[in-house]
Symmetry: C2
Subunit: 339 residues, 2 copies
C-alpha cells in the first residue's frame, strides 16, 4: 500500500469558500457576530464530485492508495480576523476533511488545520486537535510556524511558547507537518518562496535548539522536500559542526522527516542521496501548487511517485518511503492500514 503523506483538499465545493468569504466580509461589519459554518448545504454528492475527478483520479492513475489529507494550506489564513474566526473556519475545514474520509475510508485519512491566530497561545489549538483526533479519527495536524502570514511574528518553533501544544501532540501521539498558509507579504510568493522559506527556517530553528531533548517523541514533517535543506545539507552539517552542535543525525533525525514534494527527478535523487531513507515519506501535494504537465516528461510535475520509481532504491528503502515511515511517524495510521 502506497501512502501519500501530503494532500490538501484544494478542490472543496464552492460553498466552503462562500462561508469563508462571509467570515471575511463580516469582519468589516461593526455588528459582526462570528458564526460557525452550516455545512449541511454541501451534499455528499458534491463532495464525491469534488474528489472523483481530481485526487481519486490521480490516485488511480498513479497507483497510490491512501492520502493523508488536510484542508487547503494556502487558505488556512490564520491572520484573518481573530481566534474565533480561526476556530470556526478550522472546524469547518476539518469537518469537510472528515466527510471526505468517511465517504472514502480506503483513500483518505485526516490531518487537521489548527485554529491558530497571531498572538494567541498555541495551546489554544489543543482542543481542536483533540476533537479531530479523538472524535474524527485524524492522525496528525498541520502546524503553522507563522500565523501572521509572512511577517513571522511568532517566536521560533523551538521557543517554550509552543511547548504546551507539543505536550498535547505527544500525549495524543500525533505528528505535525510544519506548513505555513498563504503569504500576505508582498515579498513572498506563496508557493514559490514562502512555503520553501518556511521549511528552511523551521529546520534551522530545530538545528539551533534542544527541542528534541525536551520532547524525544515529538515528530515533525518538513514538507516540500525540506525547502532548501537537502540541497544545502553540507552547509547545515558544517554550521552545526562550527557551532559545536551534535551531528545532524543525532540532533534531529529521530524527530524530523521530509516529504518528497520535489517536482523533478534530479531533486528527488538528491533528496534520497543525502537524507536517510528512514527520514523520507512519499508525498505529492497533489492537487496542489503545480498542476501542469511537464513537457519534458509528458507527466504531471507533481507525480512524484514516478521520480521515486526511476531511482535504484532497495526494496527495503522503497517500502519505508512509500509505507513504513508513514506508519512510524503517524502511529494512529496503524488501525487503518496493515503494517
Amino acid at each position: 500500500m502506497i501512502i501519500d503523506c501530503h494532500g490538501h483538499y484544494t478542490t472543496a465545493p464552492a460553498a466552503l469558500q462562500a462561508y469563508r468569504q462571509s467570515q471575511i466580509d463580516g469582519l468589516k461589519d461593526p455588528s459582526h457576530v462570528a458564526h460557525p459554518a452550516d455545512l449541511s448545504v454541501i451534499s455528499d454528492d458534491q463532495i464525491r464530485e469534488s474528489v472523483e475527478g481530481a485526487q481519486l483520479k490521480f490516485q488511480r492513475e498513479r497507483g497510490t492508495d491512501l492520502t493523508i489529507f488536510s484542508p487547503r494550506a494556502s487558505a488556512m489564513g490564520p491572520h484573518v480576523g481573530n481566534e474565533t474566526t480561526s476556530l470556526n473556519w478550522s472546524r469547518a475545514c476539518n469537518d469537510m476533511i472528515h466527510r471526505v474520509c468517511t465517504l472514502y475510508p480506503e483513500n483518505f485519512v485526516g490531518v487537521c488545520q489548527l485554529p491558530q491566530s497571531p498572538g494567541v497561545a498555541p495551546e489554544n489549538s489543543a482542543a481542536e486537535l483533540e476533537r479531530c483526533v479523538n472524535e474524527l479519527g485524524f492522525i496528525g495536524c498541520n502546524l503553522n510556524p507563522d500565523p501572521s502570514g509572512g511577517h513571522w511574528t511568532s517566536p521560533p518553533l523551538t521557543d517554550r511558547h509552543w511547548y504546551k501544544f507539543y505536550e498535547k501532540m505527544v500525549e495524543l501521539d500525533v505528528p505535525a507537518m510544519v506548513h505555513v498558509s498563504g503569504s500576505c507579504h508582498p515579498a513572498f510568493h506563496t508557493t514559490g518562496a514562502y512555503y520553501l522559506n518556511a521549511d528552511t527556517t523551521a529546520f534551522m530553528q530545530f538545528l539551533l535548539s534542544d527541542l528534541f531533548k525536551d520532547f524525544p517523541t515529538l515528530r515533525v514533517i518538513i514538507p516540500h522536500g525540506g525547502g532548501a535543506v537537502p540541497f544545502h545539507w553540507g552547509r547545515f552539517r558544517g554550521l552545526a559542526q562550527d557551532m559545536k552542535r551534535p551531528p545532524l543525525e543525532e540532533l534531529l533525525l529521530n524527530n524530523v522527516f521530509f516529504d518528497t514534494c520535489v517536482y523533478h527527478l534530479p531533486g528527488i535523487e538528491l533528496l534520497l542521496k543525502v537524507i536517510p531513507a528512514d527520514n523520507v515519506l512519499f508525498g505529492s501535494e497533489m492537487v496542489g501548487a503545480v498542476r501542469g504537465i511537464d513537457p519534458r516528461t509528458g507527466h504531471h510535475y507533481d507525480d512524484t511517485k514516478r521520480y521515486l520509481d526511476a531511482l535504484p532504491l532497495s526494496e527495503a528503502d522503497r517500502h519505508k518511503i512509500f509505507h513504513g515511515n508513514a506508519l512510524k511517524v503517524y502511529p494512529r495510521l496503524a488501525g487503518r492500514v496493515a503494517g
Copy 2:
C-alpha cells in the same frame, strides 16, 4: 585562471569593527554627529596579515587565482542608524576592499557594499556605486533586497522602486549579487535560513515579473547556489508554466546567474544537472559561513572547487564556470584578466 566570484572580507582588522561600534554607540547619544571613518589607523601590514593567513592561503592551497571581493555581508547592517550611518560605513568598508585590491591586484578585485537604508530610495546608492566603479576600479555591487534585516519592508526587486538604481548599473555595465545582510529577526538564522530564503525569494520575484524585458542587459547573481531554486527547479518550471509565463530559460537565464556556494558534492552535482553551465559561476564564499573541515572528506566544506573537480564536466563547461562566465557577467574584469 580560476575566478571565485564570491568572497567577503570577513577577516578585516579589528579597527574597522571598532569604527562600526563607535557608529552604533553614537546612535544612542542625542548629540551624536555621524563621522566618517579614519582608516589611516590601519596599516598596510595589518591588511596583509588579515588576508595572508586566510583568503590568500586558501587561494594557494585550493588552486584558485582571483577572488571577486566585497565587504563582509553579514556586517553590512543597513538597518542600523540612518542613510548617513550607512553611507559612512559603506565607504569605510569599500575603501578597505580597495586597499586589499591595491595591495594584491593579482588576487582580488572589488565589489562594493551599497549605502542602502530602509525606506530610502535605492538610487541614493548610485553615487557610491559610481565612486567605487569609476574611482576604485570595482566591477560590481552587492544589492540587498531587504535593508530592514529580515522584515522585508522594501518592495520586491522587480518593483519600479529599484529601477533608477538598475539604470545606473546598466550604464556602468556592472552586475549585482543579490545578498542580504545579518538577520535581526528572531525567526531567521543569518547564514542557515535568511541568506537561503532571500535567494529563493529574489528568484521567485524575478520569475513573476518582466524586469528583464525592461532591462535586457541587467545581470544578477543569486548566491548560495540559488537558495532552494535548483533543488526545486521542476517546481519553478511548473509554476511559471501554470502562470503562462515563458520558459525559465527565456524568461530569466540571460540575466540571472548562480554561484557554486553549495557545500557538498551532491548539491553541486544537482546544480550543474539542472542549471545550464552558462549560468553558473564558481564561488566559495571563503572565508565565510562555514569554516570547518568535513570529516567525511577531510577538506573544508567551502572548498567548492573540489566538488566541481569531481564532476565529469566538459572542458568547455569547466572553463565557463571557472572563468568565462565571470568575464561575461562582470565585463569590467576584462581589463584585469586575459580572456
